[in-house]
Structures are given as structure tokens and as C-alpha cells.
Amino acid sequence: MVNLSTKIAGIKFANPIFTASGCFGHGKTYGKFINLDKLGAVVCKTITLDARQGNKPPRIADTSGGMLNSIGLENGGVDNFIKTVVPFLKKQKTKAIVSVAGNSEREFTEAVKKLNKVKIISALEINISCPNVVHGKVKGLFSQCENETAKIIKAVKKVSKKPIIAKISPNVTDITIIAKACEKAGADAICMINTFQAMGVDIRTRKPLLGNIMGGLSGPAIKPIALKMVWEVYNTVKIPIIGVGGIMDWEDAIEFILCGASAVQIGTANFVNPTACTDILKGVEKYFKENKIKNINELKGKIKL
């Protein structure tokens, strides 16, 4: 047996292959295509304190090497999540990470307090980087602002009984500044990156492709940029990094680990290939075996310069 385990925020995950929030639901549907127990962790779709309807359609567009989305955090709210999703998560062997967003410090902390009581949740991912919703009174996204990032991470850290992973946006001048702010505010890990703000136009109708006009770009098109950002942040902070952005196959996953990721998340790839997560896991396992890697630390951040 190859040892694929990885440690993040004091938690030992069986392997570094996680799902990306919003791209896997909470696992029930894709559980019909793959064995969920094999995954390192399932990261659930972001939830908010109160239910949200999400944005008007169209919410999806195809683009070269990726896709645009403007879902807008449609979800049933924390209470509904605890009532309807947690019983399912309880039955799974895989660790569950729950993603939380809010419009204010209070919305974040109230949601976190409710989730504190749910034993089976391993960690919380704090989504301060969704490009498709309003971020309180901030012009732009919480994680585009060093102070707002610090304020929210500090506030959730104060009330949370669970490790905190900060999920940040690539739409900044210098992502290391935001990463440092997360670390200083007490984040246990950083998840990067969320989608890039983007748009598209139908030249026949001259209308935007998305109902919300702008949305987020994901998929293979963003991978090289995500990779570069992970490498930069790896060289700046001490807390572990969970790499996400355009990972389509196991080679991509290894690249992220070599650039410093302690784990990776698979997002858009699931839509194209519903068995992507386990396909990637198999490839990573084979790579570890063939290269006689005994521990992920032998690989993490070890690009040869």
C-alpha cells in the first residue's frame, strides 16, 4: 500500500484528492459514479446562514479551455444543511469539509457557530472569494481586501471549534499579501484559487452569455495561473495550501503538489468526467509507487530549480 496521506491543520486525510466546493454537491450524485470512500475529503457546496436563490439564468457558458459560471451561491441555508445533508455525510467514511460564506462578519460567525455542533465536520472552508455574489459593503470581494480578509478570518477563528481554511480569490495584484493576512489572522490553511472574474458575449444576440453579465472562469484555462500563485504563496506562508484550479488529470495534481500544495481539489473536471476524482487518485497513487515516494512531504514544494 502506498502512503498517500496528508496532514492539514492537524487532521490526517487518507489522500490529497479533495473535491472543490460547488462542483460536487455534497457527494450524493457523483457517489453513483465513483466510490466516495476513496476520496481524501468531500468539500460541500458553499452554504450561507439563510437560504439563497442564486442568480438568474443562463448561469453556465462554455469557453475555450474552460467554463463560465454565475451560480450565485444557491443553497438552502445552514439549518436546512444540518437537517438534510448532514445525515448523508454521517454515513460516509470520507472526511467532510463544509464551505461557508456570508454577507457580513455576523453571517459568517452565526453559521460557524451552528456548524460547531456537527461532529462529523472535519474543517470549515471560509469562502471569501465567490465572484458571483455581493460581499457586504465591500467594493469587490472580501478576499480582494487585506483588512476585510483579516477581519473575517479572525472573527470566524474566534468562534470556530473547527480548523479554518480560507478560500481566496486570484483577482488581486499580489496574492501573497492576502495569504499572509489569512495566516496572521489565524487561518489553519489556505485554499486557492476560486474562479477568475470573467465574461462572454453571444455575437448573434449581442447579449452577455451569463444572466448575471459577469461570472467566474474555471477549468484548464486557469491552471497555469493557479499553479504560479500556489508556488508564490508556498514561498510566503507556513500554513498548508490546498491547490485548486483547472486540475483535469493526475499529472496536473502532481504539478500542484510539486509547487507546494498539501492537497488538491477537483472542480470543473467533474462536470466533464464524473469519475475524474478517482481517476486522478489512481494516477497519483501510481506516480507515488513508481517514484517510490513514501510520504507526500518528499514531493511537496520540491520542484527542482
Binding site: 450524485t29 442564486g54 477549468g219 470543473t268 466533464v272 464524473p274
Partner: protein, 264 residues
Amino acid sequence: MKKQICKIISNKKISKDIFLLELENKYLAEKSKAGQFVHVLVPAQNAEDKAPFLRRPFGVNLVDKKKNKISLLYKVIGSGTKLLSQTQKGDALDVMGPLGNGFEIKKAKEHIIISGGMGIAPLMQLVKEIKEKKAGKIHLYLGAKDKNEIVFVSYLKKLADEIVITTDDGSIGEKCLITMPAEKLLKQNLSAKIYACGPYPMLKCVAGLAKKYKIQAQLSLEEKMACGVGVCLGCPIKIKTKQGDIYKMVCKDGPVFNAEDIIW
């Protein structure tokens, strides 16, 4: 629902820009029913092709349980459908399906089936199932842009009790919208059920007629899709429910919805 690699038995042009693709697959033939769809990963043929990134949804056109095959009927409108039209007999195609809910067929005196353009694709299997179940008389109303889009008429004539055709340019049938002759039939106060698939304005009009004549209508809708299985929340349609108006997903909760529940 499964993801499988299926063999293409044939992929033939049957009219201008319209192709019929047959797939060999036991599981899909056994499980698929009228109104459900499959999600196809369209392969690039040449380096210069702009292959679509996401899968493309297509209605199940006809199911042949004996021969373990299903067919898709599609029109070339963009890069994905163009590349699909270039696939050939013997090629492998990555297909997820069957997906979605499909039509519910209940006994009724008259079944009024209204198609607009490529809406005929999933409705052919519906006609076949109603006929096989001997569920009632079939009135088939086919509307299209022009005569090129009116396909499989001789096949459908064998199954339907009545076929009415209209086109926008009058190249075949009356030159008007298909909802006009359909309303004439509905006026007769029938004990009937309506089924429709086609462009948004046509479906909206059918929903209006169904309400006016108090007849239950099932409409098959379209929305841009990514996952096709209800995960990404990318294909919403606003639906009236007891808890208020909420978004449901066309891929998972549909593509077939009751006309009276839809908020236009």
C-alpha cells in the same frame, strides 16, 4: 445513469444540417424512456477544431430494446454539433445517461403532441411509447422553420392518428405558427393531454393554451448545462411550489415540467 463509452452504429445526414446518430448500448436501451436525455462528450476530430469543453445534452430520440440501441436526432448549430456530425460508424462516444425525468404517460382519449423544430427529437420516442401502451389517440402537430426541419413524417404517419404540419416560410404545410392549428383542436373541448418540446416562445404559448382550455400539459425545456446531473446548479428554471417560487434544475428535476408550474 452511467457514464459509458458507446459504439456509434451510424451517423447519417437525413436533411439539411440534421443528423441521426445511432448508438449501441444495452444499458441505455433498457433504461431510457421518452423525454430523458444523454450528455455527450464531443470529441475533437482535427487539431484546428474548436472542441467544446463541456458535454452537450441531446434528447433520446428512439429506443430499440431488441437491438440494444438508441438514437439521437440533432441539428448542427455550433461547434459541438458540427464535430458530432463528423463522427463515424465504429467511433467511440463518451455518453452519460439516461438523465432527467422524462414524460409521464397516462391513459387519455386524445394525446396532443406539439413539436417546434428539433423538439421532434424526444417526441418521437413519446409517440412510440403512447402507441405501444395503447394509451389513446395521437394528434401530432409539427411546426418548423422550413421543410428541411420536418423529418420522419412517413414513420410518424404510421404511429399517429393525425399529423398537422406548419412552417414559418410555408415550404410545407400551412404558413403559420403550429400553435394556431393546435388551438383549433383544443377548442373542441377534448378530454386530452398535451406534450410539447420546442423553442421557448412556442412552449410559453402552449402553456397559455393549456391553461385557457384547462388541459394538463407536459413541456420539455432547455437550459445551458454543465454537469447534467443536478450538481452544479447551472440550469435553473423558476417553478411555483407550495413553499413559494423556487429554482429547480432542468437537468435533474426536468427536463419535463408541468406547464402550470412554470414561471415564464
